[in-house]
């Protein structure tokens, strides 16, 4: 019986550890997608500036508060604008950014397809 008790406690502690690791993973994932606004070409995750360090604390606080990834992005977007996200959402300011590569791909594909057809004939 005692053995079971200890087993349970160990299991519980290990689970706690898991939870912590998950939240760290999530916070790393989020901060990698945030642009450090006062640095040049660095994400918040990579940077060691005051701004980035505070932002890392804010992100982990928000995870503890129970916000999910999307809600945290929304929160920061409201404070700092689209520019803070490396992966901007599709809206009227960014539709060209998102659709242009697809469009170029299709045009390129069409050209190759046509060429291929011609040489096959």
């Amino acid at each position: 019986m005692k053995f079971l008790k200890y087993l349970f406690i160990i299991f519980f502690i290990m689970n706690l550890n898991n939870f912590k690791a998950e939240s760290v993973d999530l916070s790393n994932k989020i901060t990698k997608n945030l642009r450090c606004l006062i640095c040049q070409g660095q994400s918040v995750y990579e940077s060691d500036s005051d701004f980035a360090n505070s932002l890392k604390i804010v992100v982990s606080n928000k995870i503890i508060e129970g916000l999910n990834e999307k809600e945290i992005y929304e929160f920061l977007r409201e404070k700092y604008g689209d520019w803070i996200l490396y992966d901007p959402e599709l809206n009227k300011n960014t539709y060209l950014l998102w659709l242009l590569p697809v469009l170029l791909f299709l045009i390129g594909g069409a050209i190759i397809f046509k060429r291929f057809k011609i040489t096959n004939k």
């Binding site: 606004l37 006062i38 005051d50 701004f51 360090n53 505070s54 932002l55 604390i57 804010v58 606080n61 404070k79 700092y80 604008g81 520019w83 045009i107």
Partner: protein, 172 residues
Amino acid sequence: MKNKIFLFVSIFIFIIIFSVFYKGLNKINIYSPKVELNKKIPQYSSKLINSDKLVNYSEIFNYDHFILLNIWSSWCVPCREEHELLMNLSQQRNIRLIGLNYKDNVISAQKFLDELGNPFETILVDIEGVQAIEWGAFGVPESFLIFKSKVVKKYVGPLNENLINEIKLIIK
């Protein structure tokens, strides 16, 4: 015939791409944050300097006149330069100055104020820099003009005489 269409289409695409890039050439690509805002102040609570009590933002910023929130720190050199202007502004009757002490320790903050004077009515303490993020600030110094719990204007970087005059005009 097909060749002609191909030529025409590629020239057309080239012209579009050329014009997009040519237009982009003259565009200023330095990111500048929005300064004219009409945003509600964040909901948060903060410790005050020399006190352990947590005070809610809604209590501090509940005021009928203008409030200038200034983010400062004793280690920040531009803050030292703008401090005299803040002292000057605090003489005005229809504005209240509130300081947010950013990533500082209380002793050096107190020394800074003893040396240069204290223009602030209340000083909030932000050791981790978390509150500055809630305000949407980038660093020190930064100032927010607040009216009726709304941020009217944001000044990134140190205030200068022109900006102080602008604030004086707004609060008149």
